[in-house]
Symmetry: C2
């Protein structure tokens, strides 16, 4: 089968609104630090009015990964739903300007383009309040079969599980991938999202997923345990490859018969951790699609994740291909 | 007269769209490095389609100065025209979130909110293509007399000279200031803008301006000379205080009988020079409104200008009051 793309992603099409905030603001607004909270349009407007001056940068978890992959030189495509408004135009421009194939028709009548209010505390942690808007309206009709067929890997965003029609679109996409020898990867996205949809996540993982990305909290939520070793024992039975990220402590890559511990790549001045997991996945999938060993995949992932935390926003501000060439010695 | 505000600005209400670009792109598109070029909506859309991935940050020369003044702790107001759209909402939010009094009614029917495509080359220089849109529609009716009356200093943006009705609004505002003992400052904004409107700038300077901000190119364009000493000789006769900025070489403050040379404040890693002049003016006006000597005004200006060039975008990303307290020894 002719695979002219490396990775195609399906995810939320979001513009991030990033602002530096104090811890006291999170307390005042009852926001759990580090979490992603879904808000409606009215709540988003209320929070925005209280937010400090901000910058706008295209975001969305899988969209960030795809943008980073494009900067690495991978050939990529993206499926996600924007509204017919200025922020939708910004999101579309930023994907296409990276050379990403992105042609999902914009929603013509309905809610505005998704935006995510990101509160960055002095410890560089990010707390997110997302109005999903148009992004939530992705449906089966948006799943471009030809695009998925043409990719070596399909990469799915766990966050999309929050809406029934989007979840259906996911299973449709995974089915297409299975029939066209496209590997399927997923990011669990958020521990609360996992708790909301545990059974369906487990079903998808068992039947459709080749590569799982999760952080410690997410995989613990999936298996309802506090012990990381238990999650490793469980995940081996379900996925070919599972990658567990542990922030500054690096990551663990799990195969049925082997485990790799990958250290984090050192960074001097951490500004904003938004997108760290997304960039980790980008580095991993880039190396994986080129046929590298899992150890090299992990090392690449750590190097790429180190770039996004040195600046505000979750899109690359450096040439990632050059960053990798300068730092990865194979 | 009761002056409960320190500085009120009148300027363009613009959202900047910032992208890292190669020199070859400027050549390809025939863009003069360092210049500000006015484009219409169609040209802006064409250039945007060719631009790399971008970030959106509120901008506008005088608006940047006012935002920096607010971060310094000055009490500020702003008059400028946004459209009734998402980018207008972003601009308005960012001003109000800094504590700036900004209540100019948005244009309800007409062009979109102004945006400026900023191409940042590897030497940290910025080249700007501006679609003025709604910002251009500022008129006499928008000049809030009470706001101007309540300020110690009125600060005007030279760029606004590019439209007849805006120019009229300027003279109206300057007249109000004169009658209410509000000092008037102006930034010449751009050498090409000066060339387009030399006579009217000279008239405004002679009759209405107390403090002039200009860079070397702008003041040379004003007096049609290549010799900086000639411009100093000429400007003394027109303005009480003239400040000439010289990028990395610092600045010169000129009074009729005295001249101060102010060194630039050292910066390790210059990322994007967008807003350097705007922040210089903010530092100067902040100290000036507090009654400090011109030498302290200049030193404050240099410290504040050093912040904005260390990151992308022309709005503060640090607490400028703290930056000043840490670095200015009086």
């Amino acid at each position: 089968m002719n695979k002219n793309l490396d990775i195609v992603g399906i995810g939320n099409a979001i513009v991030d609104v990033l602002s530096q905030s104090e811890d006291s603001f999170l307390e005042q607004e009852n926001l759990d630090k580090g979490a992603m909270i879904l808000v409606d349009e009215e709540q988003a407007a209320e929070l925005y009015a209280k937010m400090g001056p901000a910058i706008e940068v295209s975001g969305g978890s899988v969209a960030n990964t795809i943008a980073a992959l494009a900067s690495l030189g991978s050939k990529t495509g993206f499926i996600g739903k924007i509204g017919s408004d200025q922020l939708g135009g910004v999101f579309q421009h930023d994907m296409q300007a990276m050379g990403v194939e992105f042609n999902t028709p914009a929603l013509t009548d309905g809610p505005a383009t998704a935006h995510c209010l990101v509160f960055i505390t002095p410890d560089a942690q990010r707390t997110m309040c997302t109005f999903l808007g148009a992004s939530n309206m992705i449906a089966n009709a948006d799943i471009d079969k030809e695009l998925i067929k043409s990719a070596k890997i399909l990469y799915l965003e766990g966050y999309l599980f929050d809406r029934q029609s989007a979840k259906k679109a996911f299973f449709t996409a995974a089915e297409i991938a299975k029939n066209t020898k496209t590997k399927v990867a997923i990011s669990l996205s958020d521990s609360f999202c996992v708790e909301r949809h545990r059974e369906e996540f487990l079903e998808l993982l068992e039947n459709h997923i080749d590569i799982l990305f999760a952080n410690e909290n997410e995989i613990k939520a999936l298996f309802e345990t506090d012990k990381l070793d238990d999650t490793i024992y469980n995940i081996k039975k379900i996925c070919d490859i599972a990658v567990i990220t542990k922030s500054a402590e690096g990551s663990i890559i799990v195969e049925p018969n082997k485990k790799y511990e990958i250290p984090a790549f050192p960074v001097k001045n951490i500004i904003d951790t938004t997108g760290a997991g997304d960039f980790y996945a980008a580095g991993f999938l880039h190396a994986y699609s080129k046929g590298h060993s899992l150890e090299i995949c992990g090392k690449t992932a750590s190097i790429i994740a180190s770039e996004v935390i040195t600046h505000m926003g979750a899109r690359p501000q450096t040439d990632l291909a050059k960053l990798l060439a300068d730092n990865l010695k194979i």
